[in-house]
């Protein structure tokens, strides 16, 4: 089971300097880059141990495009959670919706990207695991299935190194960039993927009550949105013709800013 998200290509987002809003029109939607690592790893694991891969996403009908990419990469089944009732969900409501779906379908292993590049919370994976009552390993950079078939060995990135965690299955992993290099689907696979069905699930399909999902199910509320005062730069840029002088000035700055006192 792989959970994915369609996100705007954040690098393409621009700010309307006058209105202080995001210019989202013309910004392409893509499969969240971290989810590609999750799908790739799922395909590799399936190709060794068997089974099949279901990808799940929550979003509007356009999010089908992200699912087609997953199918082209090798996923077997794709589910789009799309219902007006799901709209406005925060991370809790999103995790709840995804967890209810995963529970309904049954699973051995759940893989998510470690974060989505638009929201950047790193929360949905661990929250799903907690709701499902299974352990999780986050920021995974290597996975090996153990010979007993009941556990796996996951290498988790930490601030300064890594941990090796032996974790029994079922469990949830969140994929970091170091996990693998995602395949680029061939044109033929892309065309075949488009012919595969995408199942649409609604709140009713997963048996969600009104207050559980979407905005009513959310715990956080956005009270205000604003654009940050962006770095204007406009700093002092020196030419290296006087290298000694430039470095001297740089040292002054370092003394001021870099000192711990």
């Amino acid at each position: 089971m792989v959970c994915v998200k369609q996100v705007p290509d954040v690098a393409e987002i621009k700010i309307d300097e006058v209105k202080h809003t995001l210019i989202r029109s013309g910004v392409p939607s893509i499969l969240n880059p971290f989810d590609e690592f999750a799908v790739e790893e799922a395909v590799r694991i399936r190709d060794v141990v068997g089974g099949n891969i279901t990808v799940v996403t929550m979003g509007p009908m356009q999010a089908k495009e992200a699912l087609y990419k997953c199918l082209a990469m090798g996923a077997d089944r794709a589910i789009l959670l799309s219902d007006a009732k799901f709209a406005g969900a925060d991370t809790w409501a999103t995790s709840k919706t995804l967890a209810m779906t995963i529970e309904k379908l049954g699973f051995d292993l759940v893989i998510c990207g470690m974060k989505a590049v638009d929201g950047e919370t790193c929360q949905v994976g661990p929250e799903i695991a907690e709701i499902l009552g299974i352990p999780h390993v986050s920021y995974v950079k290597r996975v090996e299935m153990n010979a007993d078939g009941k556990s796996l060995l996951a290498e988790r990135s930490t601030e300064e190194g890594h941990q090796l965690i032996n974790c029994s299955i079922p469990c949830l992993l969140t994929a970091s960039k170091a996990l693998n290099i995602p395949r680029v689907p061939t044109i033929i696979n892309q065309m075949m993927a488009k012919k595969k069905p995408i199942e649409i699930f609604t709140a009713e399909t997963i048996g969600a009550e009104k207050g559980q999902v979407g905005l009513p199910g959310s715990r956080t509320q956005v009270v205000k949105v604003f654009t940050p005062t962006l770095r204007s730069g406009g700093g002092k840029i020196l030419n290296a013709s006087d290298l000694q002088g430039s470095v001297g000035q740089l040292l002054e700055l370092l003394k001021k800013e870099g000192s711990k006192q």
Partner: protein, 342 residues
């Protein structure tokens, strides 16, 4: 239930017995929030106890210090950390809990939020009590293009992770001796009987801690090769800096993946970011946007990095860096001589 929820909690972080500085930053922020809400400030520290840490925590003004020890707490494991905090929450019902936005802090906070069925504002750059007396959180989204002010209307406690370096640690003037409480960690087997974590091993890589470091040196493709990192690491040691890099550098295998700074890597907020041979693509810049100062050294005068830099040198990094190293070294020798004379 929310009416009785009282108390602001800070969850600290330690590696082995080394207290992370971000803990003191959180205490500084937490003290202000607690005072504004007229509530108590508690700090929770999970892991082996150290008297140095305890003394340090006491100086930053918490009303109560809770030390969670025993079990398998010498290493980080999400399930143990989140369950241990959950058990304290159920007993004491705080109104807010602050975590560091570090690898482990984000991980624990998410699992705990789901356990308690409450909200969590991630990677906040500011938290405060607003003019109506509500605790609100401000966080960036969409690669830092947008800021959102978040409030959690009913669910308590309100959870938030805070980025390191958003405040300078400050000791409060008024000090009262905090109560110290010791509790045993909730063992793994309590909830995960079917599923057991068997082994944990921590191995330190040589590159420094990007989140905690006050100074970060970032290298770009301008570096030219992995062997050139020796020079950069040398400079980093002199400046007490951590080393990260652009996507290009990581993809070329010159630095490990967890040292990538930017959209598909890490987002950092050091006091000073020094970009060496980094051109400054948008994808990279979103990772350093909240750095206080950006220093750029690049041979290309048109490199976009200069547009966001507070100080820049248009020049060859292979000339600038060695000069910088020799200046810093002669200075530290001079300092050592002075000390020797004293």
């Amino acid at each position: 239930m929310s009416a009785e929820s009282r108390g602001v909690w800070v969850v600290g972080e330690q590696k082995g017995t080394q207290l992370a500085t971000v803990t003191l930053e959180l205490l500084t922020v937490g003290r202000k929030i607690a005072d504004d809400l007229s509530q108590e400030l508690n700090v929770i520290l999970i892991g082996p106890e150290s008297s140095d840490n305890l003394r340090l925590l006491e100086e930053y003004g918490p009303d109560r210090i809770v030390l969670v020890t025993g079990g398998a707490t010498e290493h980080y494991l999400t399930e143990i950390h989140s369950d241990s905090i959950a058990s304290l929450v159920e007993k004491n019902r705080p109104s807010a809990i602050l975590f560091p936005a570090t690898y482990d802090g984000r991980d624990t906070a998410a699992r705990l939020a789901a356990r308690l069925q409450v909200g969590l504002a991630a990677d906040c750059t500011e938290v405060r009590v607003d003019e109506t007396g509500r605790f609100v959180q401000v966080r960036p989204a969409f690669g830092g293009n947008l800021m959102a002010t978040i409030h959690q209307p009913t669910a308590r406690p309100q959870l938030a992770t805070l980025r390191p370096h958003i405040v300078k640690p400050a000791k409060p003037a008024k000090k009262t001796a905090p109560k110290v409480e010791r509790v045993a960690a909730v063992p793994l087997s309590n909830r995960f009987q079917k599923v057991v974590m068997k082994s944990v091993r921590e191995v330190a890589d040589e590159s420094g801690n990007l989140d905690e470091a006050e100074v970060v040196i970032g290298v770009g493709r301008g570096l030219g090769g992995k062997e050139k990192l020796n020079m950069v690491n040398h400079l980093a040691r002199l400046m007490d800096a951590a080393v990260g890099g652009s996507r290009g550098v990581v993809d070329a295998g010159w630095l490990p993946h967890n040292q990538q700074i930017g959209l598909t890597g890490r987002v950092i907020s050091p006091k000073l970011y020094m970009a060496l041979g980094v051109s400054g693509a948008v994808q990279h810049l979103v990772g350093v946007r909240t750095a206080k100062e950006i220093v750029a050294i690049n041979i290309d005068p048109d490199a976009p990095i200069f547009k966001v830099a507070t100080f820049g040198i248009v020049g060859d990094m292979f000339k600038v860096v060695p000069l910088l190293i020799s200046e810093l070294e002669s200075k530290s020798t001079a300092a050592a001589n002075v000390q020797a004379t004293v």
